[in-house]
Amino acid sequence: MEEEAFDAIIVGAGLAGCVAAYVLAKEGADVLVIERGNYAGSKNMTGGRLYAHSLEKIIPGFAKEAPVERKVTKEKVTFLTDDTGVTLDYHNGRSQTSTQESYTVLRGDFDQWLMAKAEEVGAQFITGIRVDELITKDGKVVGVNADGDELMANSVILAEGVNPVLGEKLGMVKPKVNADAMAVGAKELIELPKEVIQDRFNLSDDEGAAWLFAGSPSNGLMGGGFIYTNQTTVSLGIVCGLHDIGSSDKTVPQMLEDFKNHSIIKPLLEGGKLLEYSGHVVPEAGLNMVPKLVDDGVLITGDAAGFCLNIGYTVRGMDLAIASGEAAAKAVLTARENKDFSAQGLSSYQTLLEDSFVMKDLKLYKNLPAFMETPRIFNEYPKMVADIMESMFTVDGSESQPLRKTLMKHCKEVGYMNLIKDGIKGVTAI
């Protein structure tokens, strides 16, 4: 090893990258993060909600100093058709421990804060430089080529995001992941006065709402809509599976526009001002798309490794990214101690992940991505629930029917067998 080589070069200053840098630098490792954007977070977006637990273990009490938006105390899930909505509303007024809490966040501010935390403990950052390729020697990654400069390192942590260009070049990530594995998200950030947001969403100071929608937002395709309330903005977006997008009669931006104009949503955003429009790919195949995670001199973390969980009523990626960044850093520290940065020397990354919630949860929900492909979830069921509600709440003087008959009539439209089949499949996948 050359004297001047870094213990680790990290590609990408997102959550996985910044956390890995923080953990490494804190233990005295020589670490450099290279980010192609002008600042950490400048290329990043989220829905978004951060489940605190994984970062809380690394930086206890982080939410007190980090630029989080609101603590989520309200959960809503709505089945939406073009002109109806049936909502489950859960308000949590119970106290939670710091590892149970979750926060709405905006990544521009949040990632810069995390980068500053890593810098405080000695990590170095370069922004505005793109890593063009990895330097390999005898099949081992030994550094990076960034804008013409060669920088050497004992290990490289790829935290380059959902589109892992470098991981693909290396052959660790399959270059064209099946589009089934991917969804695309689009989001508008809409500014409203703080008091207006709190009034419209029934929130107290610093409390926030997380609201997911299934059905019409994704035009009947796998996916859905979301709203997250921030301090003075609302994040409104949709996510739509890519595998059937060719047959959709709506474009993704049109889906978002229609969702925004839905009669449930529109009054909530009245008078709001668009501050930013963003897009992102979501890795949705869970365990099925996790690539080779470690090789000689290199580890893959976060979205680049496909670490994402869509369970329907919760969507998680950032807490997995943070935990994988930490695991990668710990593996590099072990390798540094043993002076062995080979795949074998770094293999504790895999073990740490296996022993953590990251791989355990991915395994638990491994059948869920396939279940989510069931089109009935996004078409027939929202309609069925709306029809049942309409029957229950409409009084027009015509002869009333026993409730069970009403229920059965609407269930029959979907098909009892389908209901039973999807019920069993759904319950066993979760």
């Binding site: 290329k43 960034a146 474009t251 930013e276 897009g279």
Partner: protein, 95 residues
């Protein structure tokens, strides 16, 4: 349901540093049209446009760098897909 969306207006509020003369996405000369139509639907920035006369129009300047086109269609459409050079491209102020 509602009016046709104008994505360009939405992109207009974003901050972009366009790398003039160095497009980071280049389409093939004769892209497969059924693949292209997928991208007309999927691209969140609406960059893959299809004119009324059937001709295609694409400009990478409003790209959100999400990679959808690369994942979905890969080399059936794309001659080149890379991230913009350092400092260039979309700059999320909020994210």
């Amino acid at each position: 349901m509602t009016e046709k969306v104008n994505v360009d207006v939405k992109l207009g509020v974003n901050k972009f540093h366009v790398d003039e003369g160095h497009p980071h996405i280049i389409l093939k000369d004769n892209p497969n049209m059924s693949e292209y139509r997928k991208l007309v639907n999927a691209c969140p920035a609406g960059l893959y446009k299809l004119e009324d006369d059937g001709t295609i129009r694409f400009d990478s300047a409003g790209c959100l760098e999400c990679g959808t086109c690369k994942f979905l269609c890969g080399d059936t459409i794309l001659e080149k897909w890379e991230y913009p050079r350092g400092t260039f491209g979309i700059e999320y102020r909020y994210g």
